[in-house]
């Protein structure tokens, strides 16, 4: 039942130590900086200090109620992240696999379109442009 925003990398194994005791199913999602264009050097992630952790915590708790989670964890990084670096992780633990999968999927859909983070792509040539929100990310949340 932990949400954190940090500049430092996270260690998935350390995050899962002692996570979800009593659960039968654990699901993790890890997002990684991907270079689709071949021109990107890094992402820069801005967030809304004060709002971010509170919003992540409130939403984790809501997902826990909704899907009957035994445990959950959200870690999201900010600042400059090179291609190949971890951006964020979500972990969910439940008695059964369906709840663990659905809760992780739901938390990701929520994070993509409702959590106060903004990404900027930094090119090898020093260029920078803000990543636009995808209509598909907004629409994904309507599934729930």
């Amino acid at each position: 039942m932990v949400a954190r925003v940090q500049a430092a990398p996270f260690d998935l194994a350390a995050e899962l130590a002692g996570f979800g005791a009593g659960a039968g199913a654990q699901v993790t999602f890890t997002g990684i900086v991907r270079d689709d264009s071949g021109r990107m050097a890094a992402l820069e992630i801005e967030h809304y200090p004060g709002m971010t952790e509170a919003a992540l915590t409130a939403h984790g708790l809501e997902a826990a109620r909704r899907f009957g989670l035994i445990d959950w964890r959200i870690v999201h990084r900010h600042g400059r992240l090179e291609v190949g670096a971890q951006i964020m992780m979500v972990a969910t633990a439940a008695r059964h696999r369906r709840a663990a999968f659905e809760a992780a999927d739901y938390l990701m859909d929520w994070l993509k379109s409702r959590a106060p983070f903004w990404k900027r792509e930094i090119g090898h040539d020093g260029s920078a442009h803000w990543v636009e929100a995808k209509a598909s990310d907004e629409a994904a949340l309507d599934r729930w």
Partner: protein
């Protein structure tokens, strides 16, 4: 009333500052936006297309018709792209 107005991502860049303290009698977010947009060309540019702007009142997501009564912090930013 006095409200801290925060800007993120390209709104921050367009307006040229991360936050400002404003005196306003605006009753809703929409009225506050109208006042801010009238300040100068940079504010006008930031708020030119409100379909591309999202808002939080006291750190809760809110829409343009949300009331401002009692609000201490209003934030404007583009659609979020976390995860």
């Amino acid at each position: 009333m006095t409200v801290d107005v925060l800007y993120f991502a390209w709104l921050r860049e367009r307006i040229g500052q991360p936050s400002e303290r404003v005196e306003t009698e605006a009753a809703t977010v929409r009225e506050l936006v109208a006042e801010l947009a009238a300040r100068d060309a940079w504010h006008a540019a930031a708020f030119a297309d409100m379909t591309a702007v999202r808002c939080a009142v006291d750190q809760e997501l809110a829409d343009l018709d949300a009331p401002l009564a009692g609000a201490r912090e209003v934030a404007f930013f583009p659609p979020m792209t976390g995860g």
